[in-house]
């Protein structure tokens, strides 16, 4: 198959930003948990994941800033957009209701993230490929951590199983949006820069099912999948996440920190 012509700079920047927005919002949510975990070991591990994701965000946004020019920086991209300009999936903005929700949200994202990076390491865009190659090792650890914990919770005791199942019932409807390409993602995929997202659905569901079997958890039947984040139409949680994250940049515009 011949790759389509390379997308214009703006499309490429949008593609990179949209991809990293998932990491940004999830990392922000995990960062907030620091110091409040069930024990020091999980606190340290979740903080590590948050740090890895922020690291990936910075690589992506720094690249996007060079593409955008015009005074853009990693921080203007991270902190100074309006809510509808963030393109993260709805899953990552869902609240950290308990450790069960934190682990299920993480697991559902990690499995997708890892499959995506497996493809992006062969991206026709060298910078994206390099970022993916570096990130994939970190993300492999994230999958291991969240899958292990999901098994521990599901196959733990009655309470933990009930909590893990409740979290899964609550969050599974958000675990399909990432396979539906936007126009930007389709253009990137056609040019060999992005991934063919619908083709990730089958391996994703296989991996999730294998871990859920071990965790003795079940997927809810007749799921109506939610979507909209990638179009910038978020859930009510998003406004609060951004209000907090952006507060310094909004209160003190244009200053160096």
């Amino acid at each position: 198959m011949t790759a389509a012509a390379a997308p214009d700079t703006r499309t490429l920047a949008d593609f990179v930003i949209g991809m990293a927005d998932n990491d940004l919002i999830l990392a922000q949510q995990l960062g907030k948990l620091c110091g409040h975990g069930p024990n020091l070991e999980t606190d340290i591990a979740l903080t590590n994941i948050s740090l890895d994701l922020f690291g990936q965000v910075r690589s992506c946004f720094q690249y996007a800033a060079t593409l955008l020019g015009n005074g853009a920086t990693e921080d203007t991209i991270a902190f100074l957009r309006k809510e509808h300009e963030y393109r993260n999936v709805l899953l990552v903005e869902q609240p950290s209701l308990d450790f069960g929700h934190i682990i299920v949200r993480q697991f559902l994202y990690d499995v997708f993230h890892h499959l995506l990076l497996e493809r992006l390491q062969f991206s026709a865009d060298e910078t994206i490929a390099a970022i993916a190659r570096k990130s994939i090792k970190e993300t492999a650890y994230h999958v291991r951590f969240s899958a292990d914990w999901l098994v521990r919770l599901g196959d733990g005791n009655d309470e933990s199983r009930a909590r893990a199942q409740a979290a899964l019932d609550h969050l599974w409807p958000y675990a399909d949006e990432w396979f539906l390409p936007t126009a930007v993602e389709s253009a990137a995929a056609a040019a060999g820069i992005g991934a063919d997202l619908p083709s990730l659905r089958e391996p994703y569901q296989r991996k999730v099912a294998a871990v859920l079997r071990e965790a003795t958890l079940e997927l809810p039947a007749d799921t109506h999948f939610r979507k909209g984040g990638k179009q910038g139409i978020h859930t009510e949680h998003m406004g609060y996440i951004l209000a907090e994250m952006q507060s310094m940049q909004r209160t003190y515009p244009g200053m160096q920190w």
Partner: protein, 319 residues
């Protein structure tokens, strides 16, 4: 063991300490040495994990990605310090669960400095510069303390703390190079954190009862007042260098002593905060209790799962 045998063991023990030998977990030690070390090491561990809270308060609002990552990594380092220190305390025959119970029921202490609130971003700079700076003064001396596991934990902790201190100072330096509003924010943070930082060295020497014994065991190598003086002498020029004013009208260089003279600490405030009446004592303790309480089912699930796995493993071996 009779009294004479204990006395001779204690003499040998004291000679080892005098000879700068390290005491290791399996060595004989006087009961008081063990208890004092459990108290001090666990207080230190508690300070690390309670200390995560005031700084953690700004992770979600850090002004740039670079600052956010640095702060997150710093708070994570503190969790790591807590982990080594609890492990060091465990070598003395007490479990982490018991130590946490003591923290949560209020019988164990932690550093009072963490009962002050972090109100602005500049407070994150002030904590790194002043609080980590004051902690290093205490901790560098502890690298040579007599108890091996504590001494070794200190080597690593001190390296990380001195990095944190530079990072905090750099936050304030950046603010002082910024706008009027940013300079005012930095000065306000120093105004609020200066005196609590001096209180970190504890009561005056004439009111510090444990000093002689602690000196003998090298749990302390300099007195509270000596360390406080060293901290003031080190910090004043750093403040001046970036244009910050120390909030103490009595502060002046004493040529004769070769040290700064400084004003009197508000010892009533010091006692109030130690007794639980500081601005955030209740919030800090409640945050720790809530984390522990909300995590109970998670810890129980992990144990239940591990037990199931062990059963399955032994079944597999039996087949």
């Amino acid at each position: 063991m009779n009294e004479a045998q204990t006395t001779s063991l204690e003499e040998v023990f004291n000679r080892r300490i005098d000879a700068e030998e390290k005491i290791e977990p399996k060595d004989w030690m006087p009961e008081k040495y063990r208890k004092t070390h459990i108290r001090q090491i666990s207080q230190h561990a508690h300070s690390e994990i309670v200390g995560m809270l005031p700084e953690g308060n700004w992770i979600s609002r850090a002004p740039t990605l670079r600052r956010k990552v640095a702060l997150l990594a710093k708070v994570q380092d503190e969790a790591g310090h807590g982990l080594y220190l609890y492990s060091a305390a465990e070598t003395l025959g007490i479990s982490r669960d018991e130590l946490l119970d003591q923290l949560h029921d209020g019988t164990a202490k932690y550093s009072s400095i963490f009962n002050y609130p972090t109100l602005t971003w500049a407070d994150i700079g002030a904590i790194g510069w002043l609080v980590d700076g004051a902690a290093i003064m205490n901790q560098v001396a502890l690298i040579n303390t007599s108890y091996g596991p504590y001494s070794r934990a200190m080597v690593r902790i001190c390296k990380e703390e001195s990095f944190h201190q530079r990072q905090g100072y750099e936050i304030l330096m950046t603010l002082m190079k910024g706008t009027d509003e940013q300079r005012a924010m930095a000065q306000d943070a120093l105004d609020r954190w200066w005196w609590p930082s001096l209180m970190m060295f504890g009561p005056r020497d004439d009111e510090s009862p444990n000093t002689a014994q602690s000196m003998r065991w090298k749990l302390k190598r300099k007195s509270n007042d000596e360390l406080r003086q060293a901290f003031v002498d080190q910090t004043v020029p750093q403040a001046e260098l970036i244009g910050l004013r120390i909030p103490d009208p009595a502060l002046c260089w004493n040529e004769e002593r070769g040290h700064y003279d400084f004003g009197e600490i508000d010892w009533d405030e010091f006692r109030q905060v130690v007794q639980g009446n500081g601005p955030c004592n209740r919030e800090r303790l409640e945050a720790r209790r809530a984390a522990h309480r909300n995590g109970t089912w998670v810890r129980e699930a992990a144990l239940a799962h591990a037990a199931k796995q062990a059963d399955r493993d032994s079944l597999r071996k039996a087949i």
